[in-house]
């Protein structure tokens, strides 16, 4: 049975004798694990892919991913991105501030920009190396996150309150590119597309419903129509948004450590695969024994439910290898 088969069984709710699926988000940790700088990881798909594969094999992870930073699409839109050696790439300045700026902003050709092209090439490289046996998670920036990347976070959040024309115009631009980028990654071999819309945890439910919910649904339907599944990732506490999020149609929902897994199960229902949700800071800072206890507690709660074992968000770069291994080993005693 391949890792892809296992995931399909999980989606379909079939009880099989296999281990709990395990897939924490790896970025900086994977780069360091392979002795690469984060700048190398974020700017060269070969390094990103090979680092993920090395981590996948060592920790027996059930999926691999192409996530690195929020600025792939922002770069394609025309922003200047710099690459500090050991930090997430930096967007030097917002590139839109007025309605006129938005109107003149051109949706990029994702095959032409080096940063979006790099991720597309990464998807193809994964497929070449894995022969389709391991689920590959592509990644796009969600519409509100991308709007914030383009406009500046504070400015965009205030525009949501002040200027619906600006807000709708920029969000509409963002979903065009989100779809283009998702399609390109699916055609290159991704089985799942992750949508990262971190900033949504910082807005109220009414604002989410007004500006984001239907756009999430539209992107998700578009991805489904092209044969891939969707993983929605919103960092932080999304408890207040769950009643709306349950309606957007994602297949996998990442839940950060602030969200109660039982409550999320109650709200989003048994069919959505929930991924999470141990606090990554605890996985980094606590002893192996504590990590084992946290994992056991979570797995006990999630027994019999559609769940992928993970941290609430990215595994931090300084996480001890033995702690991550302990999580994986603990999951061997649980069945999906």
């Amino acid at each position: 049975m391949t890792k892809k088969d296992k995931l399909e069984f999980l989606f379909k709710g079939k009880k099989i004798e296999t281990f709990k699926l395990f897939r924490p988000i790896l970025m900086h940790f994977a780069a360091r694990f392979s002795n690469h700088t984060y700048a190398e990881f974020a700017s060269d798909y070969r390094i990103l892919v090979e680092s993920n594969l090395k981590a996948m094999e060592y920790f027996d992870m059930d999926m691999v991913g192409l996530i690195s930073d929020p600025y792939r699409e922002t770069s394609a839109f025309g922003a200047k991105i710099t690459f500090p050696a050991e930090a997430v790439p930096v967007c030097e300045a917002p590139i839109i501030q007025t309605y006129e700026d938005v109107k003149s902003l051109k949706n990029p050709d994702v095959y032409q920009n080096f940063r979006t092209r790099d991720r597309i090439d990464g998807a193809a490289y994964f497929q070449k190396l894995l022969n389709g046996k391991v689920p590959v998670i592509g990644w796009i920036e969600g519409p509100l996150a991308e709007a914030c990347d383009l406009s500046g976070v504070s400015y965009m959040l205030m525009q949501l309150m002040m200027d619906p024309d600006y807000s709708n115009a920029v969000l509409d631009k963002c979903i065009v590119t989100a779809k283009d980028f998702a399609r390109a990654q699916i055609e290159a071999g991704c089985d799942i597309i992750g949508i990262g819309d971190a900033i949504c945890s910082q807005i109220d439910r009414d604002t989410y419903d007004l500006y984001v919910k239907d756009r999430h649904r539209e992107i998700i339907e578009y991805i489904h129509d092209r044969g891939a599944r969707v993983k929605l990732h919103i960092c932080g506490n999304i408890t207040h948004l769950l009643p709306s999020i349950k309606e957007v149609g994602m297949d996998i929902l990442d839940l950060d450590w602030q969200v109660d897994m039982d409550y999320a199960y109650e709200i989003v229902g048994p069919e959505v695969v929930r991924c999470g949700n141990i606090d990554p800071v605890l996985i980094q800072n606590k002893s192996k024994d504590v990590v084992v206890a946290l994992t056991q507690n979570l797995l006990q709660k999630e027994s019999g439910r559609k769940h992928i074992l993970s941290a609430g968000c990215e595994i931090t770069v300084n996480t001890p290898v033995e702690n991550l291994l302990a999580m994986r080993k603990e999951s061997y005693v649980n069945k999906i």
Binding site: H28, E86, A87, V90, V153, S154, L157, M158, L160, M161, M162, D163, Q202, I203, D204, T207, G236, H240, P280, V281, Q284, T316, V317, N318
Partner: protein, 223 residues
């Protein structure tokens, strides 16, 4: 007079900046913190009274609602904008010493970290609560904090970090600040930090929300 001050507090609480502002929708066409503050000053209301009974009251409500998840970041940003608009009218009175600040709060996101939303929210809350705020921005080194504190004795310090990779830089800043300003209170905040980390690095206070930090330093200032 009380009615006018209540209106200013209400505008800050609900983020009504000025007459032209379309937000909040149910106050469209009404004067905002801008016009009402100017009106109060024109009518001879004491500037310190406007700060204490208008802006501070409004921002305290904002801080509490934010802590209780009744409002979120966009609403806080709108309130801060309304407050800043009002404070602009009060600036001459600050410069003349007619308004007494509770103290000075030096804040920055620590070295290596470029995130500013959390830091900005805390800075806004402090400013709206009658503190002089010196915002050193993001990626702030221990040297920069120390230099600022040398020029502003008696100030307190706020350190923000969003990343696990940068929260560790707080420890060095705490150590350097302690050498220069042993009586300054050092507050920390940000997604990866907690009470345990505060104790480990020797800071004085951790708050998961801006209002908690404000209440802590308010209590220090009132003693």
């Amino acid at each position: 007079m009380d009615e006018l001050l209540n209106q200013i507090a209400y505008c800050v609480e609900f983020g009504k900046i000025n007459l032209q502002s379309p937000y909040p929708p149910d106050m469209k066409g009404q004067p905002g913190a801008d016009e009402l503050t100017k009106e109060a000053l024109d009518k001879g209301v004491d500037a310190d009274m406007i700060l204490q009974k208008g802006l501070v009251v409004g921002m305290e409500k904002v801080g509490i609602k934010f802590r209780e998840n009744k409002i979120f970041v966009p609403q806080v940003l709108m309130s801060a904008k309304a407050m800043n608009t009002a404070i602009n009218h009060l600036k001459p009175y600050f410069l003349e010493g007619n308004i007494k600040r509770k103290g000075t709060f030096v804040i920055g996101t620590v070295a290596g970290d470029l995130h500013d939303i959390g830091k900005n929210l805390v800075a806004m809350m402090f400013e709206g609560n009658g503190w002089e705020v010196i915002d050193l921005g993001t990626d702030v080194s221990s040297n920069k904090f120390v230099e600022e504190l040398k020029n502003r004795p008696g100030s307190h310090v706020g350190l923000s970090a969003l990343l696990t990779t940068t929260m560790v830089n707080m420890e060095q800043i705490v150590q350097e600040v302690r050498k220069t300003a042993p009586n300054s209170k050092i507050l920390i905040g940000g997604a990866p930090v907690n009470e345990e980390f505060k104790t480990k690095i020797g800071a004085d206070f951790y708050s998961p929300d801006p209002q908690g930090a404000v209440e802590y330093l308010n209590s220090i200032a009132s003693n």
